[in-house]
Symmetry: C2
Subunit: 302 residues, 2 copies
DNA sequence: GCGCTCCATACCTCTAGAGATATCAGTCCA
DNA sequence: TGGACTGATATCTCTAGAGGTATGGAGCGC
């Protein structure tokens, strides 16, 4: 992109003169005397290298060069006025854009309602949603490539980020439909001992992973993970294929596969939480409003 | 249209920095040192009233305000570069626009071929055609609302305008089909004496009007004009309706109406001419080329 | 021929901004 | 803890351009 050659004030004067076709009237509109306007147009013509106006007795008309430049000048001036207004509106929180990360499984629960509510309350704001698991969301927040995130079991050691719980939910066992335990209405975690397990990799969401592991250990065994998949949908598909069982947050029930059965477990009060995350130093009022909507109360945000 | 608030050089620097997200790299691209770029961006932010970039350890990112301004700034800079190039091309004759006036009857003869030839030879030039009779074309040339004109029998006393004959043609008698003279293959002008006449008003094209009047007077009578119409098509329709006869340039034959007969006349060498007109002081090379194409030879133009 | 209108030039002042160099502050890593 | 990297501030020079007033030239109408 080359350095711009033409000064905007001259282009503005050019557009006004083109509309008036009278130096005196244009000068009046611009709030200047006629000689400075004449010189300003001359300077512009000097930069272009060609006349933009024909001056004749009792009249001023555009030259072909002037007619070509005029619409472009007008559009540029309009673009900049609009861009400036948009920038100011964005900074003040009236309009703009929020980049929101979300874990795929949350598309099944809180995300749809959030999108609907946010759009109703802030029609001038655009939500760009990006599916990513928890750890990449944390990284993206630090790198400022997203403005907020919806994630499971946020990490504890992130002082620069703020979190607010959106909801909590229990766990369910994920079994092939043909599995003997599928006949029961609910299963004890201990009954899964020895079965091959399918789980997301720990690095996709360490805290959730550790929570699931802790449930198994509390029941006396270490889960034998024989297959991993990043997406819960994929985990369920692998379970349906008979590659193992799983333990998942309750909302994963929404992934309906014919060959998969979800059963309550005896883990009692064990629950996993969904949180919204943001950067504490983020002054974007749109983020504050988003956290307010999700988190349910004021003050739980930047 | 308000005065523009943001200087183009700052906007240019803003766009480059937004692409690089690194002050040092952007400064290098712009060919300046890093401190001046930092100050330039600060000045821009001061005018906007909000930060456009987040500066963080090891990274620079756009704020929401910056993200809103960026596409508008980019489009404005692109528009202006394009407009400047278009203005320069137009002035040099490679592209641009020609506004051409033409008499409606000429749409039947020279205009189609002219448009085709001109578009083939100058694809980057747009011909804006405007139908108007001869006298308004002369006025429009003086007012510079058209660049050239195709007209009949140009006036003699227009020293500021140039003319070149495009073609000449004879006259024909225009008769209702049921008229007794329509049975003849050709008529003598004298045979039209006493018949009501339909002609365009003199002010639509004085010279052509006088030429027709002179033909009648040479045959010993003054045409009894009982109806006038500006367009030859309308003249013919009135003749068809039995309101009179007319004398018209030969190309008017192209207006085929069932109830109208065109017959050669005995006026011998009497001919009317079609000319292209332009302003002698017009330096637009596109006009010179147009006159060249129409007039057939170099030098017959500005 | 004179007065009016319209645009141009001359000359001046003033200022915003571009860009330089010098140097500082903050962060990160070995 | 020190060096490297990155962006910021301070200070300075220079220039383009905005806008003023004074005045001139061209064209037109009376």
């Amino acid at each position: 992109m080359e350095r711009p050659e033409l000064p905007l004030p001259q282009l503005h004067a050019f557009v006004v003169l083109a509309e008036e076709l009278h130096f005196g009237h244009a000068a009046e509109r611009l709030g200047v005397a006629q000689p400075p306007l004449s010189q300003q147009i001359r300077r512009l013509e000097s930069k272009v290298g060609h006349d933009l106006f024909h001056r004749g007795p009792g009249r001023v008309t555009l030259t072909p060069a002037g007619r070509e430049l005029l619409p472009a000048a007008r559009r540029a001036l309009t673009e900049l006025a609009g861009g400036l207004a948009a920038a100011r509106a964005a900074a003040s929180g009236r309009t703009g854009r929020i980049r929101l990360g979300f874990a795929a499984s949350l598309a099944l629960t809180v995300l749809p309602a959030l999108l609907r509510t946010y759009r109703e309350r802030f029609p001038g704001v655009r939500l760009d949603i990006h599916e990513m698991t928890t750890a990449p969301q944390i990284a993206a927040l630090h790198e400022k490539t997203i403005d907020a995130g919806l994630l499971r079991e946020p990490p504890a050691d992130e002082p620069e980020l703020g979190f607010a719980t959106v909801l909590t939910e229990g766990f369910v066992a994920v079994l092939p439909s043909a599995h003997p335990l599928a006949a029961q209405r609910s299963v004890r975690v201990a009954q899964l001992a020895g079965a091959p397990f399918v789980l997301p990799p720990r690095e996709a969401g360490p805290r959730l992973h550790d929570q699931i592991t802790a449930l198994c250990q509390a029941a006396g065994f270490v889960p034998l993970v024989t297959q991993r998949a990043v997406e819960w949908q994929t985990v369920c598909a692998l379970v349906e294929a008979g590659l193992g069982v799983s333990l998942a947050p309750a909302s994963i029930r929404r992934i309906r596969l014919k060959g998969v059965a979800f059963r309550g477990i005896d883990a009692g009060a064990a629950r996993t939480r969904v949180a919204v995350a943001w950067r504490e130093d983020d002054r974007n009022p749109l983020v504050a409003r988003l956290v307010e909507i999700i988190g349910g109360g004021p003050g739980a945000g930047p």
